[in-house]
């Protein structure tokens, strides 16, 4: 996760103090190799990668409404490049890009409390999670356990009452179990939560066309 604070903006959105020093404008880089939108993409693209660009709404230095020429503020211009980058990132199915603007910086060039809170929240969200484990016995039994973020194993619960003829049982990464019977394409789903608990409440019985095994 990366979170640049109180800057930058793409070059075409810079006026007044936002123009910046020479290293922020160097044509040999930004005109010839990669522009700022490209750099934002690179920061956002990749498995589990997040790029949260934090800007102050008013900042006496730069990159805020105070340096922008339109009295309506920067929101419209920011939303345009944010949407463009988000669309490309979502198309690639990996990564995350977002612009977050806060106003509790007292109008000066600093990291605000809301910005820090957002950064801490994002870091917490990136911590490894536990993964559930599901055991199936063709005599109709089952069990769940937990593989903790440090790799240690812990038992959760014993289950009974499963059909005895499932030929495949797989867990999806988004918290479901899929039971499948190759002979006739019958299938069922249930929930397997991240804490290792099994929930039959969302169980569905369905007919998946037989064929592929």
């Amino acid at each position: 996760m990366s979170a640049p604070v109180a800057g930058s903006l793409p070059l075409d959105l810079r006026y007044g103090g936002s123009v910046g020093d020479g290293e922020q404008m160097l044509p040999a880089i930004y005109n010839s190799i990669a522009g700022y939108r490209d750099l934002y993409m690179l920061g956002a693209y990749g498995y589990r990668r997040k790029h949260i660009q934090i800007l102050n709404q008013t900042d006496s230095c730069c990159f805020s409404d105070l340096q922008w020429t339109d009295p309506g503020g920067l929101d419209r211009a920011i939303n345009a490049y944010q949407s463009d980058i988000q669309f490309k990132i979502l198309s690639a199915l990996t990564g995350w890009f977002e612009v977050a603007r806060y106003s509790d910086n007292g109008g000066v060039h600093k990291i605000s409390l809301n910005a820090l809170t957002r950064i801490y929240k994002e870091i917490d969200g990136m911590r490894p999670v536990s993964s559930p484990l599901f055991f199936y016995d063709s005599r109709g039994g089952g069990a769940t356990s937990l593989l903790q973020s440090n790799g240690r194993y812990s038992y959760v619960e014993t289950l009974t009452g499963f059909a005895k003829d499932w030929s495949d049982v797989v867990a999806t990464r988004n918290g479901h179990l899929f039971f499948y019977r190759r002979s006739d394409g019958r299938a069922a789903t249930a929930a397997l939560l991240n804490d290792g608990t099994y929930r039959i409440s969302v169980s569905r019985t369905m007919s998946v066309p037989a064929g592929p095994t």
Binding site: Y47, V129, V170, F178, V202, P212
Partner: protein
């Protein structure tokens, strides 16, 4: 049937060389993403899905692999990858982009990375301390590998990081004889 990505399922029929992609939506509802797809090799002994959407096929007898991908538009194939050992007995994935190959009789493993565009990078062998003769192996999204040996009711966990580096975590005992084990 293989779980791939966050919620996709890949069905493969070894006898006919056909496959199909489906998705388990919120609430547990299953929907087809594709119709029956044909033209797959009938020689794949192992297929494994990765959380990043990558799909890896292995013909353990011929030592041939193949990379593909599943997403909301269905299945796309990438390229054949040659040069695999011919003694892998299990294959699983962990931590998003890591493939783990396992030779149960020898207690030897190997790791590799596969991204969502089919780029395969071999990392190296894992020797020393791996369980031998495990009957079940499954990898979790948080990087944990779980081994279960039905014949003596023992198990073990290992951890693999996103770079494919593996280390042992815990030896376990007291398991029943389970037919299938799967990790979310």
């Amino acid at each position: 049937m293989i779980s791939v990505g966050l919620d996709y399922l890949f069905f493969y029929n070894k006898n006919t060389g056909t496959a199909k992609v489906g998705e388990v939506k919120a609430g547990g509802n299953y929907v087809d993403i594709t119709t029956i797809l044909s033209g797959f090799s009938i020689g794949w002994s192992h297929i494994i899905g990765l959380t990043n959407g990558g799909l890896f096929f292995l013909d353990a007898h011929a030592g041939i692999g193949f990379a593909g991908r599943v997403d909301s538009s269905g299945y796309r194939s990438y390229a054949q990858i040659n040069g695999f050992a011919t003694n892998w007995t299990s294959l699983t994935s962990a931590n998003g982009n890591v493939l783990f190959f396992y030779n149960a009789p020898a207690g030897v493993g190997a790791t590799a990375l596969l991204d969502e565009f089919g780029t395969y990078v071999y990392i190296g062998l894992v020797r020393g301390g791996l369980p031998t003769g495990a009957s079940h192996l499954t990898g979790a999204k948080n990087g944990t590998l779980f081994f279960l040996k039905n014949s003596n009711s023992t198990g073990a966990t290992w951890f693999i990081n996103e770079l494919g580096e593996a280390r042992p975590v815990q030896g376990l005992s007291g398991f029943g004889a389970w037919t299938m084990v799967t990790a979310g």
